[in-house]
Point group: C2
Chain length 455, copies 2
Amino acid sequence: MLFIKLIFMDYSDQIKAELKKKHIKVGDHVVVKKDVHTFEGILMPKSQGRTDSLIVKLANGYNAGVDWTKDTKVNPASGKKETKKKAALHKYKPDPSKKTVAILSTGGTVASKIDYKTGAVSATFTAEDLVRAIPELANIVNIKPRLVFQMMSEDMEPYHWITLAKKIEDEIASGADGIIITHGTDTMHYTAAALSLMVQHPPIPVLLVGSQRSTDRGSNDAAMNLICAAQFIAKSDFAGVAICMHGSTEDSFCHIHDGLHARKMHTTRRDTFRSIDVLPYAKVEQDGTINWLRTDYKRSDKKRKAHIVDRFDNKIALIKMHPGFNHKILEFYEGQGIRGIIIEGTGLGHAPINVTDDYTKHHELLLSTIQRLSRTMIIAMTSQCVYGKVNMNVYAPQRIMRESGVVEARMTPETALVKLGWSLGHTKNIEDAKKLFLTNVAGEILDRVEIPAYE
Amino acid sequence: MLFIKLIFMDYSDQIKAELKKKHIKVGDHVVVKKDVHTFEGILMPKSQGRTDSLIVKLANGYNAGVDWTKDTKVNPASGKKETKKKAALHKYKPDPSKKTVAILSTGGTVASKIDYKTGAVSATFTAEDLVRAIPELANIVNIKPRLVFQMMSEDMEPYHWITLAKKIEDEIASGADGIIITHGTDTMHYTAAALSLMVQHPPIPVLLVGSQRSTDRGSNDAAMNLICAAQFIAKSDFAGVAICMHGSTEDSFCHIHDGLHARKMHTTRRDTFRSIDVLPYAKVEQDGTINWLRTDYKRSDKKRKAHIVDRFDNKIALIKMHPGFNHKILEFYEGQGIRGIIIEGTGLGHAPINVTDDYTKHHELLLSTIQRLSRTMIIAMTSQCVYGKVNMNVYAPQRIMRESGVVEARMTPETALVKLGWSLGHTKNIEDAKKLFLTNVAGEILDRVEIPAYE
């Protein structure tokens, strides 16, 4: 289990010595005192952040992080042990008057239960666990938790998107009114794009929810993001794949982002997700207030049948243009049997292909290589600008690339990469795959850029 | 001259036929009538945009684009020829009471004169040309135009940065009070980062200025960006390399962006440049009003000597992590003798290196390859989030990468790539280059992220 070894860090040697002295093990009920504060709860394993702070899961479900100093005291809580009996007292009962939401857990820190003994994410991800962690959820919707994966999102492969698409199909067939997928934030926008293409005409909302701050921090955003997602499903008629995450640095509202046009834009901020070149669908508050910013969304209709198209060919690559770019990488990919390449060009979709002086003579090689490869694979141009789309009609050099077969991808490079693999998964014929790539299947091709989306 | 063939488009066949019939050639003085409008001026060559609109350079220096329809009439202007004699009447005279600004032209649409006969950018880039195009400039500063390159910025190579650094050194030695570099926008931030490292302790301001809209469009931003840059040089005590571009979609103000922390963020908007994780230094208006947003800038001091460090090793590469990423690209770069790689990781600086199930077994290969290569080359981690910096201390897998020698680059991927080549240019010893890469030479390493910089 390399996973566990890599993911879970240990407490500092000092803390470990103190725990050993007191015969305390991770998972035990403890009382931690520091200054005037007392924290009582279950000692959690250390998974993130500083190794010299104790993590205690409090009775209200939140985790407290207590920095270890010479004044910190930890002791076993007298006579208290978490028992299965106690958990059974709070047996979760669905309310037939409420909508039912399947919660698919893929890992990360959101809504997953850690086995206090081993540090592994437990396979028994129950409604009770979830309600204990976020009691508000049960007041909004009925929940059906499902453990799908136990991984950080940077490790997700196209295979996992396919599995998720099938799980979504299963939950739709079982009558769910909505689906929440808890997911690491790093590649959430890639997954959202993939599910938008793989689950066509979904009759219900499918919301990806993550958290930017680990559950041992006061600024943890998991609970609010989940509550807003549940409220949005309970109170709206939206259908489709979207991302529900903090819309500001405050705990004031979440944004519902179009799954095909969103991007993680900040390494740490809770409002890290931004809609790119479109407006978010809506703002949602924890009390269920919804402010719609777009009305062009598909309405939910449980009579509609979702069509699952879970094809993917991973013989794809993504390269970014930059000064000093060397064309040989393209030849390398050709040799590897790659069938499609997304280029992150500069500006409107540019590449160093002009010979202007003695020092740019090699640019001719890049142009000729691009021209040659665009006959045998899909070469699609996007822009590294992030905002705004490519336009290969403005400047003459781009026209030359376009005429040789390079295509414009009027979407983010991330969505383009997903669309590329998905299109190639349909056929061995490159021209057919190219046609599919250029067909607007689920709204991924943006004809028009929403100017206020860039602020 | 492949350059000309690629860059300059021709007018449509219909327009060409009409021009031939009337014995009109590009460069001739013409009168164009359409509807109730009359445009009189010099017929310009067609370089961008639609081929079915005529471009006429008006007496005020602006270009008008007139769509060609059956109502459009073009005729030679009676008896008018642009003569050298006329231009000589407006001989430019510097004003000793004003600051002197060297304007280094590198190409693009800004402030370059097109030879109307051949379509080539003319080597005679004179003060008269510039003052005729933007008369306001001469009221603000004395100008010394210098033609350095004639290229679009996507074609710039590290060699061109070195040439520019030397030209800057020359102009500083000649007593310039400030330098404006007119530059295409696509790679302006790469050039700004390079010049920030190559021209150390500059005694004067060095401002990069570009335009997002071609000069045949009414929304052309070249004039205002140049005027704001001249005003900022005339009225401030700033020294250093910065970018001066539109700060909003209106013609209201320009931002002065830190050359090490800026990025082109929109393919078309005039306020495409954004400061990343820092605030812009200032807002500048066309009338010379300056609103400072930061006060931590270096003050100009013409007694200070700039130190030119124009080294660069182009044996570098940039790769972006994504679902489905294949480690073989790293082995390819190893075989190519690459000495340093910038990784655009996900989130805080992550890569798919964890084995969590049967479908992620190959992640072990990526981890072991990264670990192996980080002993013989510089592997530096940045984030594809754009905003916020990497932090390889938060999660255990990143710690493992860091311990094997992968370094954090707390800068944009673009600045990191430039810093990498610059550091490697100093020495054949990788460890020495790595030390230099991790040394904060010119403010490129951000200890702290300015939260309001992400809006």
